[in-house]
Amino acid sequence: MTDDSAIRIALVVPDLLGTYGDRGNALVLAQRLRWRGHRAEIVTVLSSAETLPDSCDIYLLGGGEDVAQQAAVNFLARGDGLRRAVDAGAVVLGVCGGLQVLGTSFTTGDGVTHRGLGLIDISTEPGERRAIGELSTRSEEHELGLLTGFENHLGRSRVGPAARPLGRVLHGVGNGADATEGAVSGRIVCTYLHGPALARNPLLADTMLSWVVGEPLSELPPFPELTELRSERVKAAG
């Protein structure tokens, strides 16, 4: 195997979008590939880079503060690498601020509306108060089923006709504009299950990986704490 065969996971501007342990998603994806004998490489792209390379297989955008979020849009609009990668079939995960950045527009706490990257049909406005707490949802997408995580956001998001919600809220706030949570369009997945969302949702991680690998993935040996953690957290959500 050569290095070219490694699956490249881009951690996109973690200096701007990476407040809530978002790096965890890259670690989870890379480790689940390695455990199955695939090669995986995490490519960290800081905002000091010229542009975002279009040659990665997976792009991860995490959460950040308002100012950082705008800076991230400015960086990502430069060079258009993310759009080229998406057109070529790359997988994208946008978490919290990442969801807002990937969408069509977002209004920050100061009332200013910013253009998003427009890669997925979702728009965001500030809510009255931050949604903070455990969040659990049920997803009909790709038989994902129960999703669990923590949310911490002011934004209220509306999924437009060109995208579908990722799930329906069981407990928590989610998108807030209605009872949906997140958004999916093609290979772009967005969610308010913040930070290391994939750590608690291995099926979502494996679904995204199977899109890259191009075939269903082999089963991993059981991981008892993970199953227990999921049920403990769903119970904690309400």
Partner: protein, 452 residues
């Protein structure tokens, strides 16, 4: 009454003073309006009643084991006498300590150093908001010095009430984001706090861009440099958002914010004081993190013109700080208690335990004082422990276990620290056990240790 008028009144002169002349270095004093003898007597009685009731509440809380009493006593006294704080801070030289990590340890060090000048009180129990400060100050109303730990979001509230003699700004990093909020808002709040205290002397961390941004506009800043171990919250300029780089040595942003020239520098060889004097540091507390804390404490006592060698000698006597770094015996086993509550402090504590092969127990809770969100576990590079075995416990043992599995660290969950200590892995290992616990988990362990 607005805050400005209150401060104006504090500095207005020419009226009858209820207190003796201010001590050197103090730039303000409490001055009360002219009152009749009866009013004065009643006022004194009210203060006396407030202090007695507050102390009673503290003792009762301790006796009933409801807590350390550091908060309730202050709350009771303040309810009876709302201006009690103003009276308690009069004629005292007060050093306040804030920042994300190292507050409690540094406050202990400062309290030690200040004893080179006279009696000093401190809120060493970690009750670091206003009622805790009142409780600490009223425990010894006549001590001329005080070292107060202040929650980073409450410094502005404190400087709104009075100007301390010295303010120490240690560091700023992500911590309990669901409770405290994001760093930018904490930094803005610290900046506001310093604007309200132009007469204080500020001692601040030159290597932490968030702290530099908070402190640089203040008229009297002494800068301390001891390196910046956790860098992920300071990769971008806190003022303009531009990329700053890797922060090794000097840094400078296009917007003008730059690393100031350090007045105090500390590394593994020792420290260099502003006058060029070199001191060797020999601390019972481990790690560069405590060398930096000690330098801050020494800088504080120097700002108050206390003798450096005696202050340093006192700082070097500190063997543990409210249980942090303390060796003790639990379930018949020698353990060392380490507190880590956010990625930056875990990094420091992992530095300590990575140096040895001692058995490890990690405890993580997620109560209100810890923050309910434990996403930050993924910001910690547990990969450096790959191959070692860790016993995990606490309310969020499962989150921790999953994180460790992904880092290929062997782990086993236990229902409590006691049970972890009795596990086969720990019982078959040699040497003292290293226990790293986050805030409430650590507090509970420390309380248990004190009961023994």
């Amino acid at each position: 009454m607005t805050n400005t008028t209150r401060r104006d009144e504090l500095t207005r002169s020419g009226q009858e003073s209820t207190s003796s002349p201010p001590v050197p270095g103090q730039r303000w004093r409490v001055v009360a309006a002219r009152r009749t003898d009866t009013e004065r007597l009643l006022s004194r009685l009210r203060t006396g009643v407030a202090l007695t009731a507050g102390r009673l509440a503290t003792t009762t809380s301790k006796r009933l084991r409801l807590g350390s009493g550091g908060i309730i006593g202050g709350r009771v006294a303040m309810a009876l006498r709302p201006d009690l704080l103003d009276r308690l801070v009069a004629d005292r030289r007060i050093v306040v300590v804030t920042g994300t990590n190292g507050k409690t340890t540094t406050t202990h060090m400062v309290a030690q150093a200040l004893r080179a000048g006279g009696d000093s009180v401190s809120n060493a129990t970690g009750a670091n908001m206003l009622d805790g400060h009142v409780a600490a100050l009223m425990s010894e109303p006549d001590a001329p010095y005080a070292a107060l730990e202040v929650d980073e979001l409450h410094l502005a509230q404190l400087t709104d009430r009075f100007q301390p003699s010295v303010i120490l700004l240690l560091n700023l990093s992500r911590d309990q984001l669901d409770r405290v909020g994001e760093i930018r808002s904490v930094e803005a709040s610290l900046r506001r706090a310093l604007r309200q205290a132009p007469a204080a002397k500020v001692v601040a961390n030159a290597d932490d861009p968030n702290i530099v941004s908070a402190a640089i506009d203040h008229p009297h800043v002494t800068w301390v440099s001891g390196g910046c171990r956790w860098k992920h919250d300071a990769l971008n300029c806190p003022r303009c958002g531009a990329f700053l780089g890797e922060l090794e040595g000097d840094w400078e942003c296009a917007c003008g914010l730059r690393r100031p020239v350090a007045d105090w520098t500390v590394d593994s060889n020792g420290l260099i004081a502003p006058d060029g004097g070199v001191e060797r540091l020999s601390l019972p507390l481990p790690g560069q993190v405590n060398r930096v804390n000690a330098t801050f404490a020494l800088a504080a006592s120097t700002e108050l013109d206390l003798p450096r060698s005696e202050s340093l000698e006192r700082i070097q006597r500190l063997r543990d700080a409210s249980g942090r770094y303390g060796h003790t015996t639990m379930a018949g086993r020698e353990v060392r208690l380490l507190l880590a509550k956010n990625p930056a402090s875990w990094l420091e504590m992992l530095d300590l335990v990575a140096e040895n092969e001692r058995p490890l127990i990690f405890v993580v809770n997620s109560r209100q004082a810890d923050g309910h969100d434990v996403s930050w576990l993924w910001d910690i590079e547990f990969e450096r422990l790959a191959g070692r075995t860790v016993l995990v416990t606490g309310e969020r043992a499962l989150d921790l276990a999953v994180r460790l599995r992904y880092a290929e660290v062997n782990c086993e969950t236990a229902s409590s620290v006691q049970q972890a200590l009795h596990s086969a892995i720990i019982e078959h290992s040699a040497g003292p056990v290293e226990i790293i616990a986050n805030y409430t988990a650590f507090r509970d362990l420390f309380a248990k240790r004190q009961q023994h």
